[in-house]
Point group: C2
Chain length 182, copies 2
């Protein structure tokens, strides 16, 4: 602690995520991040290419937070665990979550999550040529719900109603997979 202020990409992302959680995504400016790290804004450019790169880093952080499903569980529970994890991440970081929709999932974390869903769907008995499409639509349903909730589209409904909505959505997912695997 006796040293002069140190900085790193990890510290920058943590500061940016904290600001987004506290004051919204628009409050995440280079100056605000720098201020929180007690550094001039220009110091950030040593560790981050530009602001877009910083935002990409925040998305990475979110994806890393979605805990991978515990192997060994039946596929239904693995899918449900992933869905709950995504929703929890969205409510924890509502500001940043919107970025997930606009940035294609190309990081290792995101690809791993997709593979997990593929495995679960194959285990459920889906035709191999149906797996990819089903994964796209199912993740659209879950991401769409989580993003809507995070963005405040259901803000006038109490949490209990939103919980019941989500449970209903998961039930639908189960039925759809059963029907596809018939």
């Amino acid at each position: 602690m006796g040293r002069t202020a140190q900085i790193s990409r990890a510290a920058i992302l943590s500061a940016g995520l904290a600001i987004a959680d506290e004051h919204g995504l628009t409050a995440v400016t280079m100056q605000a991040v720098a201020r929180r790290l007690r550094v001039t804004p220009m110091a950030l450019y040593r560790h981050v290419a530009n602001k877009d790169d910083l935002l990409d880093g925040l998305v990475e952080r979110l994806l890393a937070e979605v805990s991978p499903p515990a192997a060994g569980l039946p596929w239904q529970e693995r899918l449900a665990a992933m869905a709950h994890g995504i929703r929890a991440t969205a409510t924890r970081h509502p500001g940043v979550f919107m970025l997930l929709l606009s940035r294609p999932a190309v990081t290792g974390e995101a690809l791993g999550a997709r593979e997990s869903v593929y495995a679960a769907l194959r285990e459920a008995g889906l035709d191999p040529d149906q797996v990819a499409r089903t994964e796209r639509l199912l993740s659209t349903m879950i991401l769409g719900f989580a993003a809507s909730e995070a963005a405040g589209r259901f803000a006038r409904h109490p949490a209990a109603v939103r919980d019941a909505d989500f449970a209903c959505l998961l039930e639908w997912v189960g039925h759809l997979i059963d029907a596809a695997a018939r």
Copy 2:
């Protein structure tokens, strides 16, 4: 035409929407809108409270574009027509469409669309206490798909694949409603 440049809220929204369609939402600045109207940025504030009000206006414009379903058709076709209309609007205005998720639907247009879905679901035979929840989840599915596509989440898949995905999603919607009305 011989007059000096005239301005109005409608003209401002049209200019903003055109800029968003051509260069993305970030290009919609007060200065860019003013430049397109051949006016100083400060002139806009006579007709628009601030930039947030301008963005709200753009969302209104999008909602007004989703054509209401033709009455007289069976409920399945009315719902499908609305879904296609939403998707078409999203692909026409991808930049602005993201805003739809973050701004709660409180305008007359949005409430009317919701009522149309309610009517269709009642006609399908849903329990009255299931109608509101089902509407929320169905619109989440459609909006989620349209937003994902507009934001580029499916950009690496050709249009034919995305069309088939959407058709599959609509088929699911039909099955879910049938099951709920059983």
